[in-house]
Amino acid sequence: MRTIGILLIALTAACAGVKQAPPASTAQSGLLLVDPWLLGRNQDRTVAAEPPRSEAIREAAAPAPSAAPTHEPATIAIQAVKIEPAADAPAAPPKNQHAAKAAAPTAKAPAMASASAPTVEQPRKSEEPPAAVRKPQPPLDIATLKTRLRETNAIGVFTKLALKNQVDDLLQQFRAHYLSGQKTSVAALRQPYDMLILKVLALIQDSDPSLAQTISGSREAIWGILADPVKFNSLS
């Protein structure tokens, strides 16, 4: 009677194991169809269920029917551990070291694949600059710069007038420098020139980005005109 009772309990336990198997067995059919909730549940279950199974196999005291049903959840659990890193879910480390070691190589491979994919794509993107960057725009001269600034709608009338005053002031400083006959270079005027360019860029970069880009690209060309006495005198 006692043996029959033990057998009945073992059979009940085996049937209970078979009933739990079908939801997890969907994980074997395809990696992407696995529900993460199921994976987590399977992982927890493996850790809890495996020691009794191994003990049962080692002792060989358990009846034969109990071995077959317990084997199936074990394979499912291993599959679940392998699948889990592919979903890029940072889960808690597995308590079973064997399972962790088995999962480590398979986990690294998808992770490396997913990490290397964007690094391959990024150089392709950088190889193709936008058309506006690739297309070099001709540098502006002073007259064209004045005309473009006068025609833009990015700044108001007061601002245009104030800007014109400051440009005229800077040109007057260059003129005074060249008329004074100083042998020193015009490097001292570079800072006010840069400041004025920065002010202009700050004013128009939001409303007229193309003009801002053109001015920014013409910065050295305009300085080259201003810093050369011959070119500067030809302006006026």
Binding site: I155, G156, F158, T159, L161, A162, L163, A202, L203
Partner: protein, 84 residues
């Protein structure tokens, strides 16, 4: 007889046709313009929040930080911002 809905649509379309830029839009552009001028002249302001017009090309601008400037064009044609 014309339906009231059609009359309303006609009135609104005519109003939209003949309406100029709204005063609010003009104010916004003027505020932006005066903010840029004060910034260009290197004066502390932050942002102009209100403007009182005195005459053509002569405004009192009140800044966000509390400063007030009279912005005008002087006889030499220069834009000047005088702190009030």
């Amino acid at each position: 007889m014309i339906a009231p809905a059609r009359t309303a649509a006609l009135i609104f379309s005519l109003a939209a046709l003949f309406a100029g830029p709204s005063p609010a839009a003009e104010d916004a552009s003027l505020l932006k313009d005066l903010t840029a001028v004060i910034m260009l002249l290197g004066l502390p302001c932050g942002q102009v929040v209100s403007v009182q017009r005195h005459a053509d090309n002569d405004h009192i601008a009140t800044c966000k930080d509390g400063n007030r400037y009279r912005v005008f064009v002087n006889a030499e044609g220069r834009v000047v911002a005088q702190k009030q």
